[in-house]
Symmetry: C2
Subunit: 181 residues, 2 copies
Amino acid sequence: MADLTEEPLSSEQLVDGALLKAHRDEVELPDGEASVREWIDHPGASAIVPFFEDGTTCLVRQFRYPPRRTFLEVPAGKLDTPDEDPEEVAARELEEETGWRAGSLHPIGAAYPCIGYSNEIIYVFAATALARGEQNLADGEFVEVVSMDLDEAIRRARTGALKDMKTITALLYAEQFRSDR
Amino acid sequence: MADLTEEPLSSEQLVDGALLKAHRDEVELPDGEASVREWIDHPGASAIVPFFEDGTTCLVRQFRYPPRRTFLEVPAGKLDTPDEDPEEVAARELEEETGWRAGSLHPIGAAYPCIGYSNEIIYVFAATALARGEQNLADGEFVEVVSMDLDEAIRRARTGALKDMKTITALLYAEQFRSDR
């Protein structure tokens, strides 16, 4: 396997926004040439697939401003810092977005949504032993909770009806988790 | 279904980089309140799953600077403009990255990698009737082509060994395409 590593030479912060932190780095390529990489620094996120006893899961419908459309998504939320425990974030975000509290959270995978220009990683959990908690949406967060058979959600991921890659990936992991149990 | 739409009130470009175009918009939320959305404007991309007659596919190994690691990925590349034909981009990027030319390209899905802060959409194609063409990497692009049984690639997507969400999504679509043929 060839060494494909790019080494940072210098870094400049382009944007220090409320959400977006963007950088422009000069890097040394594997052949010794210099190049420029522009990238988003992201603390990571957790996403959750709820497993209810009756075979259903729940998704959330949200408007997403960058693509200007609504999506059906697995519940998810950002870590406050890269050091935060992804499982704690999963527990918090699940309850805040859906009003369901997880008795158990099982790590079922982790993957990167956007490796070309972001370091974001999304940790995926299966939530079981669910009990009623309290929905508590953040300011400016508008969410509809949608109950669906897990089989139907997986079918929609596979056939292209669900359009968000973290949701597609999380449901694939959920299918594997269910078959391994 | 509630109207969850957010309407733009004003927009400011934060970064006009070689790759990254970042904006900060003021928006009106569904409840009439104002808020701010920071987002990346992206022209979209095409990703390709090659189907060879012997049941193999090929992936590319690349170092990705934002997460600072190498990934095994499906071949993929950006549209030059949002109006470019995704199928033409798929044909071009497949040959440039892997040296294989597609006799046929079949659209098998499209999804969004990063809806929280980017409008990027990735169009996924299955490539069949493959013939030798000419690899032609862009300046600063370092890629290793890796041949693998398609079944093994799908297994790795499912079990978490592949870490790039566009690759996981593309292989799920490829599995569905193969079973529908």
